[in-house]
């Protein structure tokens, strides 16, 4: 199997799906000749032309809104939000319209669309090019929220998202784009939206993460293995619908749980996972459920020392694992 980076996996998914389904088009800022800010869509305009790889005006509300309307009218749009931080002007269209139309029309209309958004920090993007948005949108029934961490998952999940008849928010951690490489089969495959994936089985404690933090957790688990602690690392992959059974099953086996995300802690997604564990695995717990998240400051500060302090590190994660192991 060839080894490619996560960005290439996403481009391949879009390309292969567009080649077989004419209903699919991509709509976003600079996705055409520029190939997108991160060059995810590079080269696609030559293959599919400007009716299918469309440079949008700088107007997120209508980028998403137009895709909702087009999706209701027999097409399969992929909206690209240039940076996840810029999704705020489209909040109304995503939450009020895309997520609710199927339910409030009692099934009359469906909204088969994907919203791709590069998220996350650690790239010196400062306050408005580093944000995590998953907790805000995972709160919304009617949406699906996906956050892959590996090229294999990214490609397989994006294909599933494009085929899904529901609106899917597809979060691509921008630091993983070129940093994370992995083997991706050449044949056509899917990774279903929903199931989590145990990326590293273990016995002593369970760690839950997604996106870049999954890799930091794997690194920390490796360090703990050398110390004789066996850590299970679960990649949530899909935040809505959440794979509750895998989370609870893992904690029931290991009796200890740590949740890691770079979004700030209060009201973060870790709170939901912790609550589910408290409700469904209370009898099996041998230690308090721990969470690691970014500090509760308005957004990621620019200066490197401050950014480093904001981002959970493998060392910080390893320290929490040790604390749990010793409990």
């Amino acid at each position: 199997m060839p080894e490619i980076n996560l960005l290439e996996a996403i481009r391949q998914a879009i390309d292969e799906m567009m080649a077989q389904d004419e209903r699919i088009f991509v709509f976003g800022e600079d996705v055409g000749r520029r190939g997108g800010v991160f060059r995810v869509t590079e080269g696609l305009i030559d293959k599919y032309g400007p009716m299918r790889i469309i440079d949008s005006p700088l107007a997120e509300s209508v980028i998403v809104g137009a895709c909702v309307g087009a999706a209701m009218n027999d097409t399969r749009p992929i909206a690209e939000i240039q940076f996840a931080d810029f999704i705020a002007p489209a909040f109304n269209q995503i939450v009020q319209e895309a997520a609710r139309i199927h339910y409030r029309s009692n099934g009359d209309w469906t909204v088969p669309m994907v919203i791709r958004a590069p998220w996350g920090g650690g790239i010196h993007g400062a306050l408005y090019h580093s944000q995590s948005i998953e907790a805000t949108f995972a709160h919304v029934p009617g949406l699906k929220v996906v956050a892959p961490a590996t090229p294999y998952d990214a490609k397989g999940l994006l294909k599933s998202a494009i085929e899904d008849p529901n609106p899917v928010l597809f979060l691509e951690h921008k630091k993983t784009y070129r940093l994370i490489k992995g083997q991706v089969p050449e044949h056509d495959y899917r990774v279903p939206i929903g199931p989590a994936d145990i990326k590293r089985p273990g016995e002593d404690l369970s760690v839950f993460a997604y996106g870049l933090m999954l890799h930091y957790c794997l690194e920390a688990a490796q360090a703990l293995a050398a110390e004789g602690v066996s850590v299970e690392v679960v990649d949530l992959r899909t935040l809505r619908p959440l794979d509750v059974a895998t989370i609870i099953g893992s904690v029931r086996r290991t009796s200890k749980a740590l949740i890691v995300h770079e979004d700030n802690l209060t009201g973060g997604f870790g709170g939901e996972v912790a609550a589910l564990i408290a409700e469904h695995a209370f009898e099996q717990l041998d230690a308090p459920v721990l969470r690691i998240g970014g500090p509760d400051v308005p957004a990621m500060p620019f200066a490197k020392p401050l950014e480093d302090a904001f981002m959970p590190s493998p060392q910080k994660i390893a320290a929490a694992m040790r604390r749990l192991a010793a409990y």
Partner: protein, 355 residues
């Protein structure tokens, strides 16, 4: 120079009298539907927020007369009349207002969220301006697929002050999309007048910086609305030229059924209703030109009365939505890890203190 009456007479002579009678029937149906809706609200058959089309009958019927089955319609939350004039029977519409399972949205939507797939009625939208980008996207989908038809983005005057409206105008012209921005200008965004809320109160001019053609239309004249819509619809479909229609109408009552309308001078409202009643004026016009007679008008009144009563009876006799269907249609396909019927029933029982 021809006298006004003669011009009018010759214009009417070019019309198919059956069409004219049908417009009157539809306008009267919307009028009685909304009057009885108001009555049902007072009787607590309808709850929540409810916005009536009283006074806007010509605006609605004129628009619908110009559209074809290929076309798509997105509206705001004041849309009872639109879905009926588009061809959905009054029964399932009234049932939706009652919150019944047989309603057009299965009782999930209520007054502001009416949908009908068969007639391309893409829904009522309660978030002001929420529907406008969607309409533009649906128009792109028509162009993308090479399909005939246009998309109507119906909205109120207040919507023209929202950012999404301008983003949508820009895209519509940039891509030359078959979309009509149909502004029902009744002079008030809830209690704020157009002049107080908009630095450009001539709403038809608001497309100027987007190079979008705009027109002001008398929304109390069903034929004027129909003709303008037909002309601009054909232009949108054939030439990909979007347009703004600033359709001036008169809102007979407050913003919603529970709005006491204190911000409008009672005398202004009284004289407005007297002068701008599209249903009564159209009846007089048809009668004066011998297109209908007293017997026909009486028969029509009886027919509409009966149809609206049947709609109410249908709504009254319809079942409520079932608790166990609470989680149905959250997603278009089965999704793991979301609650099911047994959860819904359990929640209801706990709520009632039965568990």
């Amino acid at each position: 120079m021809a006298k006004v009456e003669d011009t009018q007479r010759s214009a009417l002579e070019r019309e198919n009298p059956d069409d004219l009678r049908h417009y009157y029937y539809q306008m009267l149906l919307l009028r009685r539907f909304e009057e009885r809706t108001s009555e049902m609200y007072v009787k607590a058959k309808i709850g929540g927020y409810c916005h009536l089309n009283l006074g806007e009958e010509a605006t609605i019927v004129g628009l619908m007369a110009a559209l074809t089955p290929d076309d798509y319609i997105f509206t705001n939350y004041r849309e009872h009349g639109y879905i009926i004039a588009r061809g959905v029977p009054p029964g399932p519409v009234m049932a939706e207002l009652f919150g019944k399972e047989t309603g057009v949205s299965g009782g999930r939507g209520g007054s502001m969220h009416l949908f009908d797939a068969k007639t391309h009625f893409m829904g009522g939208y309660a978030i002001v301006g929420g529907q406008v980008p969607l309409a533009v996207g649906a128009a792109y989908a028509l162009k993308y697929q090479g399909k005939p038809g246009v998309v109507v983005a119906q909205m109120g005057d207040g919507t023209t002050n929202i950012g999404a409206f301008y983003e949508s105008l820009n895209l519509a012209k940039l891509w030359n999309l078959p979309v009509l921005f149909f502004i029902v200008n009744n002079g008030y965004g809830m209690g704020t007048s157009v002049e107080m809320g908009s630095s450009e109160p001539d709403l038809w001019k608001k497309g100027a910086s987007f190079r979008i053609h705009g027109e002001r239309i008398d929304g109390t004249d069903v034929l004027a609305v129909r003709d303008a819509c037909r002309r601009l619809r054909a232009r949108a479909e054939q030439e990909g030229e979007p347009a703004i229609l600033d359709v001036v109408s008169f809102r007979f009552r407050g913003h919603s059924v529970i709005d006491a309308d204190r911000y409008r001078d009672p005398e202004f409202v009284r004289s407005g209703r007297e002068k701008h009643d599209p249903v009564r004026n159209f009846a007089a016009l048809l009668h004066d030109h011998d297109i209908v007679d007293d017997d026909w008008l009486k028969a029509m009144t009886d027919r509409v009365e009966k149809e609206v009563q049947e709609a109410i009876d249908f709504a009254n006799a319809s079942p409520d939505p079932r608790f166990e269907d609470m989680y149905v249609n959250m997603y278009a396909t089965p999704v793991p890890n979301i609650p099911g019927p047994e959860d819904a029933i359990r929640e209801v029982k706990i709520n009632r203190g039965e568990l």
